[in-house]
Structures are given as structure tokens and as C-alpha cells.
């Protein structure tokens, strides 16, 4: 009989460690840096590109870079169990972590990641990214990609409702909802898509556009008195009630709805473009704009961020010096490298000098010749840094539950906020 999942999990972990392997040193002095990442077409490919660049720049380094690809959840879970178990067995030398989860690892496993504050010139990287990878003023992660929030919309549908590209610039959410109602009237197509059982992408985008978050600057829970969060809930509810919100069942359902022309817009990050591009017949119909702001909140701007990830070097790695040298060589100062990954993988980096190159002037035919990368480069420096903290998953779940109750009519916004606040306090043991 199974005595609790932990026992099984530990047993599985023991088995997986045998197969996972760690950094190894071959007999000829060749050292291997093991990197964990999760998307073969994106961050894995980017890191492989970085490895090639490093081999060219520094052919005598005696270092091989081995990029291992897992699912994102596996990277997080394997790292979590590996660190919790102690030691270095089965752990990589460099790991990619989402900025939203990084705080959890930095809080829970202090000393497990190399403090790189003095090893890079972080003034060259986006401030909000540096804040996201820091704890107590020390920097632990090298900022990689950003989730510059953009509003992707179907220009043809907007035009059918009598609006132009001009009308979609620097909107407020109230204006956006009005346009959405007209689009629904004229075309019968809902304005915006969000995932039914997890509407936190919009919530997070709206919160950060106001410089707010689930937690305040001190890391204390900020739910009931969070005006941006309240406004996000009001916006979602109003969009649902007016019929302009399309609730997709899953991430796949969301992509399908967009690709099949069942919805007119979406708020998401630069990497989402690859999902939009799946519908080749819609080429030229799409445009990107800054996300709307909240009129009633003076701090609110037409710029935000959703997601993004960064590289971390593990403190117990036996090749950490080599790993840091590799990151310094390729990821700092080499704008050609940033150009390559922008062109090949669409990776919107965090390295500011990288934004001034010709790649950002490229016109994208899928977006009717719009200079889409230039738009991201324009948005990113404006993004307000917030303290993501170590409990984003807990907060997302609390908000998701509260929103489900709100949408089902079981509570009002005050009730939903109070519920989420209570759940989060309980989860954090505060």
C-alpha cells in the first residue's frame, strides 16, 4: 500500500537522478556545462546558439555546453526536488527559470545560486528584469527574455466595426471595451480571448501596468487594497457580461480560437506571435499595439510585462567559474548574438544595447509591414518594476479561484478579493 505521495515522489526522484546525470569532467580535461531549458524552438535553441558563439569566440576554452530539454514543469520540479534533497546529484550547472517562479527558489534555497551582482554590468539590462532576478539587493539571475505585453488584434475586424489602426493606439480599457462591443455588434466575433480556468495573464498584465502586484514592495500580500487588481476584476467581469470575452478552454483552445478567426484580439508576450503565425491565411491582417491602461489609476501606463525568464548558475556546480565566463562572454556585449536570436527565435532579450540594431527596424509582413520588434523595444524600458516575490503560483491560484466564484455569480468583487486574500494568507501561513 502506498504511504503518501511523498514517499513515491522520493522514490521516483531517486530513480530519475540515476538517469539525469550532472556535470561531468572527461579524462582529457574537457569540461561540460549542463544547461536545463524547456522549449526546443525557443530557449533551448537560443542556448545552443550561444554555445556555438562561445565555441567560435573562445575555441580553447576546453568547455562543452550541453543543453538538455525538458518540459517547463519538469525543469521546475526536478530542480525543486534536487535542491530539497541537497547535494549536486542530478542538478545542472545553469538553469533557466521563469521570473515568476525565481523568487520561490531564491527564498526557499538560499545559497543555491551564485550571486552574480558584481560579475555583470546590470545597468545594461532592463531594470524591471534585474529587479525580478534579485533578492535583498543582490542579483542572482542573468536576464534573458522579456514578456513585453502587447495587444495583438485583427485590423480587418476592427475596420469592419468602423475603427482604424489609429484608434487602437494608447487606449484605456473603457475605450477598448467600447470598441469591443462595436466589433461584436458588427461582426459577431468576441473582442478578446482569455483562458477560462486561468485568467491571470490579463490580471498580471493589468496589475504591472499600474506598478502593482499580488505583493507590495516589502513582499506583503496586497489583495484587498490593490486598486489595480480590483480594476482588473471589474474589467474582466464587464467584458464577460457584455459578451466580448471569449473564454478558451486551454492554451491550445486559445490558439485555435485565434487561428480560426473566432476572436479578434489577445494580450500576450512577444513569443505568442509564433502561435499567431500558425494561421498563414491571416498574414497581413494582424497588428500589434500597446496594451490599454486604466483611466482611473494615474500610475497606469500603456506598457506591461507578462512572464519572461532568466539564467541561473548553481552555486554547487563544479564548473561554475566556466559557466559564468560563458555567460559573460556571450550574453553581455555581443549584440550580434542578440540579433541572431531575435531573428531566428524571436527572442526579445533584456540587453538594452541590443535594441538599437537594424533588426529592430525590420518590417513584418504578417503584421502588415509593422515594425513589431521596435514596438517591443519601445515598451520594455517603460515597464514598471514590481516585486514578484516567492509565491506567484499561490497567488495565481487564489485569484483563479476567486475569479471562478465571481464569474459564477457566487460572490461580488469585494467578496472575491476577500476570498483570495484569505486563501493566500492561509497558504503562506501568515
Amino acid at each position: 500500500m502506498k504511504r503518501g505521495l511523498i514517499a513515491i515522489a522520493l522514490a521516483l526522484l531517486a530513480v530519475s537522478m540515476v538517469f539525469a546525470g550532472g556535470s561531468t569532467e572527461a579524462e582529457d580535461g574537457q569540461k561540460t556545462i549542463t544547461v536545463w531549458a524547456w522549449d526546443d524552438n525557443f530557449n533551448v535553441a537560443v542556448m545552443k546558439e550561444a554555445a556555438e558563439v562561445y565555441a567560435q569566440v573562445n575555441p580553447d576554452s576546453g568547455v562543452t555546453i550541453n543543453v538538455e530539454s525538458f518540459s517547463k514543469e519538469d525543469v521546475f520540479v526536478k530542480l525543486q526536488t534536487g535542491l530539497a534533497g541537497g547535494g549536486t546529484a542530478g542538478l545542472p550547472d545553469i538553469v533557466l527559470l521563469e521570473d515568476y517562479v525565481a523568487g520561490k527558489y531564491l527564498n526557499t534555497f538560499p545559497g543555491s545560486f551564485v550571486d552574480i551582482t558584481d560579475l555583470f554590468d546590470f545597468s545594461q539590462f532592463l531594470q524591471f528584469k534585474v529587479d525580478a532576478v534579485s533578492m535583498d539587493g543582490r542579483v542572482y539571475g542573468l536576464p534573458f527574455d522579456t514578456g513585453a505585453a502587447a495587444l495583438y488584434y485583427r485590423l480587418d475586424l476592427i475596420e469592419q466595426a468602423g475603427y482604424t489602426e489609429e484608434d487602437m493606439q494608447n487606449l484605456t480599457w473603457d475605450e477598448f471595451i467600447e470598441i469591443g462591443k462595436d466589433v461584436l455588434d458588427k461582426t459577431g466575433i468576441p473582442m478578446i480571448v482569455e483562458i477560462a480556468n486561468n485568467k491571470t495573464t490579463l490580471v498580471r498584465a493589468i496589475m504591472q501596468s499600474c506598478g502593482e502586484w499580488y505583493f507590495d514592495k516589502n513582499g506583503d500580500i496586497s489583495i484587498t487594497n490593490n486598486n489595480a487588481l480590483r480594476a482588473a476584476m471589474e474589467i474582466l467581469l464587464e467584458m464577460r457580461d457584455s459578451g466580448i470575452l471569449y473564454e478558451a478552454e486551454s492554451t491550445e483552445g486559445r490558439a485555435a480560437a485565434l487561428n480560426n478567426g473566432r476572436v479578434a484580439s489577445v494580450v500576450n508576450a512577444p513569443w505568442f506571435i509564433s502561435s499567431l503565425r500558425q494561421a498563414e491565411d491571416q498574414s497581413g491582417l494582424w497588428r500589434a499595439a500597446r496594451i490599454p491602461r486604466i483611466a482611473d489609476i494615474p500610475e497606469s501606463i500603456n506598457a506591461s510585462n507578462v512572464g519572461g525568464s532568466s539564467w541561473y548558475v548553481l552555486a554547487n556546480s563544479d564548473v561554475k567559474d566556466e559557466a559564468i565566463e560563458f555567460l559573460q562572454t556571450v550574453w553581455q556585449g555581443n549584440t550580434d548574438f542578440y540579433d541572431t536570436i531575435m531573428l531566428n527565435q524571436g527572442a526579445m532579450g533584456s540587453y538594452i544595447p541590443g535594441y538599437s540594431t537594424a533588426v529592430y527596424d525590420a518590417e513584418d509582413s504578417f503584421f502588415g509591414g509593422q515594425k513589431i520588434n521596435a514596438l517591443f523595444a519601445e515598451i520594455l524600458p517603460e515597464v514598471i518594476p514590481v516585486n514578484y516575490g516567492g509565491y506567484v503560483a499561490e497567488a495565481n491560484d487564489a485569484i483563479t479561484t476567486a475569479l471562478a466564484n465571481l464569474f459564477a455569480g457566487r460572490t461580488d468583487i469585494d467578496g472575491a478579493l476577500a476570498q483570495a486574500d484569505a486563501q493566500l494568507h492561509n497558504q503562506l501561513g501568515r
Partner: protein
Amino acid sequence: MIGRKKAGPSYNKYGWAFISIAFALYLMFTIYPAVASLKLSFESFQAGKYSFAGLANYKRMFGDAIFFQSLKNTFLYMIIQVPVMLFMALIIATLLNSTALRMKGFFRTSIFLPCVTSLVAYSILFKMMFSLDGIVNMVLMKLGILDAPYQYLQDSTWARAIVIIAMLWRWTGYNVIFYLAALQNIPKETFEAAKVDGANAVQTFFKITVPQLKPIILLTAIMSTNGTLQLFDETMNITQGGPANSTLTISQYIYNQSFVYAPNFGYASAISYVVVFLMIILAILQFSVAGKKD
């Protein structure tokens, strides 16, 4: 005593040698984790260190609304799914055992087939069937029962129902096998006697079959109860615990506490031990209700 001595030291030695490997593995992978997780349930994990926390983890549970919600959900699955499944399994087993039935092999295989499917695969299959453009919506719309596709998995009642339906499909055949095996051991004379006395099929079922299957019904009830209390794959894949935690099971909550949220292995272990405790209580209850000697 003398006889045993004669069988000799070598008899004992080989005996122990043969079971030692299995026993060592059992010690390592079952006993040790069980004891270690009990110890873990009294510890808290903060800033990379474990420290003794006394009963703090157990106390926390009493104020944890999500824990109670997951407990409630799990018991709801158990109270509805286990009796329905066992009753269906009994009926199917009786039908399959009937002498009048032809192509027994085919039917027995068909009924058992769901049990060989992977938990994750069948869960995803049920999720697809009840999705917006899934077969259920398609059929209902073709028949004119629905005008627009319905999001079953966003409705807490439906989401729970789908989890239960999926489990019925997956596990009923498993229990049928137990009943079929047990039915072979029921003396045919008892059925013949019932027939002679003029009992109809329903009377035979309740008065002859069920009483004689009592020990095996008890076994399957305890196994199913344990299985349901540990339910994880189905809800994880079909609903991920949503909407609003209405399908969250205890096991999934334990998983969340360990791997999704900031790791709280101590609290997760404490919840696991509460589940163990509940299983023991339920087993004792079932024994005392059903296990009485006539």
C-alpha cells in the same frame, strides 16, 4: 520444536536469503520513506533548512479551507463513485457468469479493456470528449438538444460528474474480475436450490449471490476506497482541480504543496498522514459493518 530443529539451520538460512532481497527493497522503498515522511510531517522547511515544528503542520490543517475543500471533494467522489461502481461491477459480473451468455471471452475482454489504458491517456480522452468541440457537444448539438457548445469543465457540478464518469469507465471492469473469480467459487447447488424454490433472478442475486460474495465485496470496497482517497491522475489531467477548487483532490493538494507552491514538504507529509489515518478508520468501519460473522 524438535522437528523444526531437524529441518535445520540451512533451511532457515536459505529461507532468509531468498526473501532478503525483496525485504531489503521493501525496507528501502516502503518502510524507510514511510517513517521518514512521518518525521517530516513534524518539521517545517524554510530557507533551505528543515527544523522541528512540533504539531504546527497538523494545526495548520484545521484553518486551511482548501484542505477541507479537497477533503470534501474526495469524499464526494468516494461516496458516489465507489457504491455505484461496485454495484455495476456486481451486476456485470453476474451477467457475464450467466450460463445463457455466448461469446463470454469477448465480453469479458471488452469489460476489462479500460483497465489496461494508462491513467493519463484515458483522462485526456475524457477531457477531449467533454471539450467545447468534443464529441459530446457535437452529438448533443446534432440531436438539437444543445444550441451552442457547453463548457462542461467550467461548471463545478459537471466537472465533478465527468471525473466520476471517467473513473466508473476505468475501474468497473477491474472489480468485475474480482467478482467473476469469486463467483466461480460459489457452489452451483445454491443457485439450483434457489431455482427449485422458485426464486426469480433478482431474488437470486440479492439472496444467493451477494451474501456469498460478501468477503470479496468487502475487499473491493476497501481497495476502491483507498484508491479514491489517493485519486490524482484523473483530476490533475481532466480539470486540474478547477473550477474554483471544486474537483481538487487531497493527493493533488499534496502535490501542489510539494511541487507547485513554495515547497512545504512537512505540511504535505502531514496531510499524507491524515489520509493514512482516514483510510485506517474507513477500513475499520467497513470491517465492522460488513465483516460480521453470521
